[in-house]
């Protein structure tokens, strides 16, 4: 087993006096797909935002490629290859699709037109509408745009926050297919999902969060198989 590309140790995040994340630890091996699952408000997004440098952790240690990045701001992390696909997609609705993709290549200075063309090949729907404001896209298309935009940045680790949110099941399937492709191309993926079942099916390793803490972790398949965990923490009482 190689050294982890990303480690999080004892992470704590607070908003004022409110503690949203208490002592969370996890790691991702290079090329792995790791998922953090849990109900709304469990603190998953806070973890991912702290890793991405959007939030200042109150405590703990985060390393990326062996170097500490606990308090490194987001813009430096993107340059180093730690890229986030944020929750709610956060596309820039008033900018065109092309401009959104160019923003993905912000840190390269130019706009990475080669990478953008590659995205147009991969997502032809974006190429067709490249001059339209991104806000005119459908939810699923916006999610694709958000992913494509992150890919333009050339990530080594991609942090994905609820990519299936608000999408129809068929489109969720497609999003997950894209995620698996990304992972297959060697990029490490850290996936935060409410759709636990779906996420665990795709992942190598899973962490179940509850009220700001990791309450279970293990190989994804094992977690998925443990009906008690699914019932108790994933908000699903009766299922398939």
């Amino acid at each position: 087993m190689s050294d982890p590309i990303l480690t999080v140790d004892g992470l704590r995040v607070s908003y004022g006096r409110v503690e949203a994340v208490r002592d969370v630890s996890f790691r991702a091996e290079p090329g792995a797909l790791v998922t953090l699952v849990g109900a709304n408000g469990a603190g998953k997004s806070s973890v991912i935002n702290a890793v991405a440098g959007l939030l200042r952790p109150a405590g703990g240690r985060i390393t990326f490629e062996g170097q500490e990045i606990t308090r490194t701001p987001a813009h430096k992390l993107v340059r180093r290859g730690l890229v986030q696909v944020p929750e709610g997609r956060q596309i820039l609705a008033t900018l065109t699709i092309e401009e959104n993709l160019q923003m993905g290549g912000w840190h390269t200075g130019g706009g990475g037109s080669g990478a953008i063309d590659a995205m147009y090949d991969r997502f032809p729907v974006l190429a067709e509408r490249r001059a339209l404001p991104a806000g005119a896209l459908s939810g699923g298309e916006q999610q694709m745009l958000a992913i494509a935009r992150a890919l333009v940045a050339g990530p080594k680790v991609m942090l994905m926050d609820e990519p299936s949110m608000g999408l129809a099941p068929k489109i969720v399937d497609e999003v997950f297919r894209v995620i698996e492709e990304i992972r297959a191309s060697g990029t490490t993926v850290v996936l935060v999902e409410q759709n636990a079942r779906r996420a665990l099916r795709a992942a190598d390793h899973g962490y179940v969060m509850q009220s700001g803490e990791v309450v279970h972790s293990g190989p994804a398949a094992d977690l998925l198989a443990d009906e008690r965990i699914v019932q108790a923490y994933l908000g699903v009482e009766s299922g398939t």
Binding site: A52, G53, L54, P73, A74, H75, L77, V78, R79, V83, Q84, V85, P86, Q90, I91, L92, A93, T94, L95, E99, Q102, M103, G104, W106, H107, G109, G110, G111, R149, A153
Partner: protein, 291 residues
């Protein structure tokens, strides 16, 4: 005819002032009330460069541009960045920029005294033209041209360049911009710098145009600048130009048909009507939806 030209030229001054103002106000949604102080400061610095430094105006202008940019960075750093994330950032930003403006004007008085000053005669060619029987000076033509050019150049910058994209991204969604690796603080600072350097150039041209520079020159034009921004549409660069020209023409025709005492009522009346009927301004996009 003369009045028409007068209106256009006054209007282009308003526009020149407002373009810098609106960049920060419209794009970053921050009202920087230190902008008028930069406007005044640059005129005095420009005069000193020409008078003491013996530079030609053309050499002094780029330097003034730099001075303006530095002031912009200082303003952002001292008056706005510390307020980031505060619940009252809006009010507080107004006040901190007013405080900074007061300090800047005080420093100007210390350095240059309270008297009016002007660019030494001959620092700008005193060329005049006659257009359809109306008198036009070269300065006026330059100001109009500069306003137009700046409007076009800035519009290009905002819509076509990487920096412009970054500015718009920061304006629309700072979080998304950060996720994409944009150093939001830096883009904000650069926006302030550009805004202030435009204000600085405006100050110099203004002082040449009216042949006087005063500590209060920024304050005198401040309210009209606000009116122009609102009339033209917040953050809209062409809006600032059109708003400026509209205000200039309205004033001139007020002189002719209503009476000179009522000029300012026209400006603010126009402002008021626009705010009530079309709050987004003539060219502004309706950014915010009411629910």
């Amino acid at each position: 005819m003369q009045q028409l030209l007068n209106g256009i030229f006054i209007g282009s001054i308003y526009a020149l002032f407002a373009i810098g103002f609106t960049l920060v106000f419209g794009i970053l949604d921050r009202l920087n009330l230190a902008h008028p102080a930069v406007f005044a400061a640059s005129a005095f610095v420009g005069i000193e460069l020409v008078e003491r430094g013996g530079l030609s105006l053309w050499a002094a202008l780029p330097l003034v541009f730099v001075v303006g940019a530095v002031l912009g960075l200082l303003i952002e750093r001292l008056a706005f960045r510390p307020l980031k994330g505060r619940a009252d950032a809006h009010f507080a930003g107004l006040i901190s920029s007013i405080a900074l403006a007061g300090m800047l004007i005080a420093l100007l008085q210390w350095r240059y005294g309270p008297d009016t000053r002007r660019f030494p005669p001959g620092s700008f060619p005193d060329t005049r033209f006659e257009v359809f029987g109306a008198q036009v000076t070269l300065v006026q033509v330059v100001i109009l041209a500069v306003s137009l050019a700046l409007m076009v150049a800035l519009t290009y910058m905002v819509t076509r360049t990487r920096l412009g994209r970054g500015m718009r991204a920061v304006a629309e969604n700072p979080t998304a911009a950060r996720v994409l690796g944009v150093n939001v603080d830096r883009v904000t600072a650069v926006t302030f710098a550009i805004s202030s350097s435009l204000g600085a150039v405006a100050g110099v041209l203004f002082a040449i145009n009216v042949n006087t520079a005063q500590l209060g020159m920024g304050a005198a034009i401040e309210l009209k600048g606000l009116a122009v921004i609102i009339v033209g549409g917040m953050g809209s660069l062409p809006g600032a130009l059109i708003g400026g020209l509209l205000l200039g023409l309205a004033e001139v025709f007020a002189v002719q048909y209503i009476g000179s005492s009522w000029i300012d009522v026209i400006a603010f009346g126009l402002l008021f009507v626009i705010l009530l009927l079309r709050p987004q301004g003539l060219l502004g996009a309706r950014k915010v939806r009411e629910v």
